[in-house]
């Protein structure tokens, strides 16, 4: 059996607003990432992807609050740990996080090498600067970044280069798990490819053992990760391998997502992109039934009132819908037939 590097059981976290309302942005999420595997999280904006990433690190600061559930990294439960302790022991060393606008993390008045010195000294005070330089240079060369970058100021670097520098810095302390939250959304396609190549390189060379990749671009997820998880309104609505999730989605929401993929390949112009009408529910007052019912074409009367459990299909496949696998497939086949006519 392969080792599990990150295991999350029924994690629930909430935001408390100014008016003391609870917003459950992550609602009973369970996931498991094995060594050498990568997990992709997809979903539209506001569905709780980034909150999940923040919650996974165990580093909570208001308005985000921990409610319940376990986060186990390498056999160690970090849920409910003191934030200061988490910051010293876990962040960077066990689990690293690349936020959406990672390139803005660089201080414009300091050279990259100073930034790296700060990171290392925060965790290991008695390292001299020469060692740090050597370590950083070796890592940068290993990842195909020029070593001159170390002596430059952030303004001298392009957006893609800055992003790659921050990714390299985030793996300096050899974390087990890397969480990449839309690392390429602000970049153009060429720099995006470089970032993706670097992330793959990290996995292949064993610098990190698992990765969680968050984005709303499905073609990207399909090419980067082994498994895909689709989130909607704070809940997992579908889990499966990348192949299954993209080509054979079961949940009506993931079906809609897959219908909006744009790739420059033959046949794209013949298909009509399907858009999902409506907006996600307000999480301050989540609907008591299925959260997707309002926008779902297949919704039935009971969908509005019965809370829907996640159905496990075996082999890591799961979906959250009242309809059975057979009923869903039948509905999709019917729709495809009507579209063809």
């Amino acid at each position: 059996m392969s080792n599990t590097t990150l295991e999350v059981n029924e994690l629930t976290t909430k935001y408390i607003t100014r008016f003391q309302e609870d917003v459950y942005a992550v609602d009973h999420v369970s996931l498991k990432v094995e060594e050498g595997k990568s997990l992709g999280i997809a979903g539209e904006s506001g569905c709780g992807k980034s909150t999940l990433a923040l919650s996974l690190m165990g580093y909570y600061f208001p308005p985000l609050h921990y409610t319940s559930g376990d986060i186990i990294i390498n056999g160690r439960n970090i849920s409910g740990m003191d934030p200061d302790e988490v910051r010293k022991m876990i962040l960077g060393a066990e689990i690293a996080y690349i936020p959406q606008a990672a390139m803005n993390a660089l201080n414009p008045t300091r050279k990259i090498i100073h930034f790296i010195e700060d990171v290392i000294q925060e965790h290991d005070l008695y390292v001299n600067k020469k060692d740090i330089y050597e370590r950083a240079r070796a890592l940068f060369e290993n990842l195909g970044l020029p070593a001159e970058v170390l002596q430059k100021y952030p303004v001298e670097l392009s957006g893609g280069m800055k992003q790659r520098t921050v990714i390299a810095v985030s793996v300096l302390l050899l974390p087990k798990v890397l969480i990449a939250d839309e690392p390429s959304s602000a970049l153009d396609v060429t720099s995006q490819k470089m970032v993706i190549k670097m992330l793959r390189q990290l996995m292949e060379t064993g610098l990190i053992s698992s990765m969680i990749f968050i984005t709303h671009e499905l073609p990207l997820l399909y090419n980067v990760t082994d498994d895909i998880m689709v989130m909607y309104a704070g809940q997992i609505v579908e889990k499966g391998s990348a192949q299954e999730a993209v080509f054979d989605p079961l949940h009506p929401y993931s079906k809609g997502l897959m219908g909006s993929i744009i790739v420059p390949e033959k046949g794209l112009r013949d298909v009509k992109l399907t858009a999902i009408p409506g907006v996600p529910p307000n999480l301050k007052k989540p609907p008591c039934g299925c959260r997707f019912a309002e926008r779902c074409k297949l919704a039935r009367l009971e969908c509005w009132s019965v809370s829907v459990p996640l159905r496990e299909l075996g082999g890591g496949r799961a979906y959250r819908c009242l309809l059975s696998e057979h009923e869903l497939r039948e509905a999709y086949a019917k729709e495809a037939y009507q579209n063809a006519r």
Partner: protein
Amino acid sequence: MPDEKKLCLSTSGLTKVFGFGRNKTLAVDHVDLNLYEGEVVSLVGESGSGKTTLAKMLLGLINPTEGKVYFQGKKRDISSQRKKQEYWKGIQAIFQDPFSSYNIFHKIDTVLLDCIRMRGGGNLLRAKKVELMTEACCFVNLKFEELTNKYPFELSGGQMQRLMIARIFLLKPKILLADEPTSMIDACSRATILDELMQLRNKTGMTIIFITHDIGLAYYVSDSVYIMERGRFVESGSADEVILRPKEPYTQRLLNDVPKIYEEWDLSTV
């Protein structure tokens, strides 16, 4: 029927140089562009290839260093503010960042009323104006009753961009310049925005210039595609021709950089 197509906007030798002396940058380099009525054209290129500079010159927001722009057969005249406003009745734009496209002090009603006034409907009855605005909002699947008395920043990015399309629907320009209209919006709302743009084209027959770095998007929406590299067009032709059978190495590279799902994505080329 290629000979029946009417030329809508054309440029000859359009050039823009930023800076001078040693710092001289040639942003757009002698571009000849011919746009026909009812056509959807994409300008594709990576960042820094001069797409947006070209768009701004077409809009008359910056002056070209050299070259001419012809609008509906006549040489464009934007020498005064009044003439510029006259020109902008014929050409309108949707920009990349919906959050900075609106005046934050103006309510949504004002935004839409401005459009009606610009079309010469300033003296219409209030009821007629509301009817027009409701129709425009309906077109983009927004509810006018919910929007009235709200400010643009109360909407989500996708809704703002749709409101922008509602504006265009009211203005009915000849040409619409869409500068990366979906790059700041997530993938689910992207399909809606693109569909609404296409509907707008089908309904009013306007010409749409679509600027993007995502070649997949360009392929989906456009009739013809122009590939830009360092201020020049390196390849142009119908969408099928350029995207499925690219000739230039630059086009091939752009195509390679986009993640695909049916073919293997080759990561070794960067």
